[in-house]
């Protein structure tokens, strides 16, 4: 894996190069500033497959550099790992919003370094396989139902893996987090009908509906595969969990979705949620997101099993029943 490591301290660059080499990554280029990194990126013949960026640097900082790299179509999905001290995690909101995929912490720990780089390599390999599979084809191949493909041009969208890293790494502080999962209950049916990139279009449209509701709030959103869109609201928002979920379902209800063949699709969606304090452990934050997904999937299963009917009753009544639980 070809890596570009950027840090303004030559000793840290030497340390990073040594640790990378020990972990089996020998193809490493270094840059002493964001400006130098951008020059290297624009002139290099063979593209990089992973970036390691220090956050605080004089001039353009690592977060801004991350945004610059992400804006380059060549590196739209390339792993970008931020290098940060444990007590610097307050920069993470900005870093993930700029497109960071993951992070490694200083002081460096060999095991953590290997794990993070291993994940990055896995991610990079999947992207390369996807690109190779699509090469030369006039239309994109339909993704598998379970594939957690990246949302396209959706504000604050990040890779599913990055969302998990964010939940693990985000620091404690004031304000809680609200985790939501939108489940497309009839994903299997829509996926079966869809051809080409129809299915991605439907998922992106649903994500866009979510972002309409969350406009002005701080959030990250990700497609998790199997018709699930996960999103986490961090910081203040003037809506309760239930209000967010209701607004999303209303917004989705107004979508006019048509596939490439002109046929209309009606997405049946349910929204699960769960909230957590930032002060809780990282495993608790991950568990909270899973709880939101399970919440949505549980309701969707109930819909599929006929316990709740989505189409045949007034919307408000339906929402009351959804939030009242499956026994309602």
């Amino acid at each position: 894996m070809r890596i570009l490591a950027v840090d303004d301290d030559p000793i840290i660059l030497e340390l990073v190069t040594t640790v990378l080499s020990d972990a089996g990554y020998e193809d490493v280029v270094t840059a002493g500033s964001a400006e130098q990194a951008m020059t290297v990126i624009s002139t290099v013949e063979r593209p990089f497959e992973c970036f390691l960026l220090d956050i605080l640097m004089p001039g353009i900082d690592g977060v801004a550099l991350c945004g610059e790299i992400r804006a380059n179509p060549l590196y739209r999905a390339t792993p970008i790992l931020m290098v940060s001290r444990l007590d610097e995690k307050h920069h993470f909101d900005r870093a993930f919003a700029a497109g960071a995929s993951d992070y490694v912490t200083k002081p460096f720990d060999a095991t953590e370094f290997r794990v993070r780089l291993g994940l990055a390599e896995q991610m990079q390999r999947q992207q390369a396989q996807l690109a190779a599979a699509q090469h030369g084809k006039p239309d994109r191949e339909k993704p598998r139902l379970s594939e957690a493909f990246m949302l396209d041009d959706v504000p604050f969208s990040i890779a599913n893996h990055a969302l998990e890293s964010y939940l693990q790494g985000v620091p404690g502080g004031v304000g809680g987090m609200q985790c939501f999962a939108l489940k497309l209950a009839n994903a299997v049916e829509i996926h079966r009908k869809a051809s080409g990139n129809d299915y991605e279009f439907v998922i992106n449209s649903l994500a866009d509906a979510v972002t309409e509701v969350l406009a002005g709030a701080n959030y990250f959103i990700s497609h998790s595969g199997n018709g699930v869109i996960s999103f986490v609201v961090h910081g203040a928002i003037d809506m309760t969990e239930e209000e967010v979920a209701r607004a999303v379902m209303t917004e989705v209800g107004m979508l006019d979705l048509r596939l490439a063949d002109g046929s209309q699709v009606s997405p049946d969606v349910v929204v699960g949620s769960s909230s957590v304090s930032r002060l809780t452990s990282r495993s608790a934050r991950i568990a909270t997101m899973r709880e939101a997904v399970m919440n949505a999937e549980g309701i969707a299963d109930a819909v599929a099993g006929g316990k709740i009917v989505l189409q045949e009753q007034p919307r408000d009544s339906l929402l009351d029943r959804l939030f009242g639980g499956l026994a309602a």
Binding site: I11, I12, V19, P58, D87, E88, P107, D109, A110
Partner: protein, 116 residues
Amino acid sequence: MSSMASERNLQPALDAIRVKFLASLETRLAELDALTTMIKSGDKGSRVWEEVRLRVHRIAGVAGSLGFPALGARSARLDTAIEQYIAEPSSADEATILAALDDLLDDIDAILEDGN
């Protein structure tokens, strides 16, 4: 960096970087000393504090990985304090931060005298 030290072929390379870090400490100390003097003599612009922070941040980023955990921890605490002070000068007392900076310089001095 105990887990690093346990790696098979890593230690000799880390030792060499550690030697370079120790050699660089003298320059880092001199630069921080000069910047501290500027602040104490009345140059209280945020630019000077940003220069101090950059140097403290660099030490914080590398010291812990090269076998100087106390220096790394002290630098990290000071880095955070200066970051907050630059963002909101009323949030902290400059004299307190300067005292912490003096303590850091003393630490570096002691490491240099000790030679390891």
